[in-house]
């Protein structure tokens, strides 16, 4: 319905002039309908809950005394150990670390090789199957059958799409 704003304003102002309170109230309600109802921004509820101290907070381990104690203990023990090690001890620990890294690289590399080999095997099998299927379909008989099958399926789908809107109506 088309709204003639000026006519509505005129009707309201005329009612005000005539002192028709109820009519003026009714007409002004129509005039005021053009004013938008303002809305707050999207994060309003979150901001309110945050400010009211009602928002769910993720536990901050650092904020708890036992979290700080655990970190401080770990740092202290690591520091004490580092200070107490002799040069021979440093050498032994360093060699042990290097050995661990080398073991990891070696085993990791072997695992990666095995994974890639496995993937190639799978893909090779699929490729063989695809070639065999292609050869089979390239023959005139199966090809004709396939085209016929696709044509029937396409026609059935088109008929179904025509029928669906009719049923909705």
């Amino acid at each position: 319905m088309k709204t003639n704003h000026r006519e509505t304003v005129r009707a309201w102002l005329a009612a005000e002039r005539r002192g028709q309170d109820e009519e003026a109230d009714r007409q002004f309600r129509r005039v005021a309908a053009v004013l938008p109802r303002l809305r707050p921004s999207a994060g309003f509820a979150d901001a309110v809950l945050q400010r009211a101290g009602l928002a769910e907070t993720t536990p901050d381990l650092w904020a708890s005394w036992w979290g700080r104690l655990a970190v401080a203990s770990a740092l202290l023990s690591a520091g004490s150990l580092a200070v107490s090690l002799t040069p021979h001890g440093w050498l032994t620990a360093g060699l042990a670390s290097l050995r661990a890294v080398a073991w990891g690289v070696n085993h990791g590399g072997a695992a990666a090789r095995a994974w890639i080999g496995g993937a190639f095997t799978v893909w090779a099998g699929l490729a063989h199957a695809a070639v065999a299927l292609g050869r089979l379909l390239a023959a005139p008989g199966p090809m004709l059958l396939l085209v016929l099958n696709l044509t029937v399926a396409g026609a059935a789908l088109a008929a179904l799409r025509r029928l669906l809107p009719l049923q909705e109506n």
Partner: protein, 210 residues
Amino acid sequence: MALTDAELVARALAGSQDACRLLVARHSRVVFNLIARMVRDPGVAEELAQDSFVKAFGALRSFDPSYKFSNWLLRIAQNTAIDHLRRVRPETVSIDAEAPGQPIADLLVDERARSPLDRAEQRDLREALETALAGLRPDYRRLVVLRYLEDASYEDIAAMLDLPLGTVKSHLHRARAELARLMEDSGWAPDRDPADEVCNPGRGPARRTG
């Protein structure tokens, strides 16, 4: 079935964050609209609307469930807005004063308007109404917003603002009469030729000087 406000308040009092969130979602638009119309600055209005909810949640235990939650909340909201207006503008607002900067006008976009002419006419009317509304005393403005923008009944407004019913009606009558005068002054008088403004949407309605 949707929970009532009273049920949500009970759950909020029991510590349910979801209930608080639902209460905010349900009433934030009305609270924001009322405050934004009163303070005429969306940024400040958002801040004050948040304040209102924070105050309401802080005082939730004092809420009497036999009253409407929306009335109670809107009373807090309008008190918050009035406190702000008193702080920033302690002098009485003159109805003849120029409207302050109108950031709210930036929000006035309605794509539903059908034709360019209709859109121009609607924009002119909105601007004129916004300006007239801004020229009203804040206590009249809140009445107009509650009655005509939020469709509140006289009884609800009376309960919300803690005013006698007769006062609400008479103040609304005066507010509307004042708005009518302001609208006529800005060129919307019934005897005016509408073609003047409709054909020149960019020019806006002429101001009567006499």
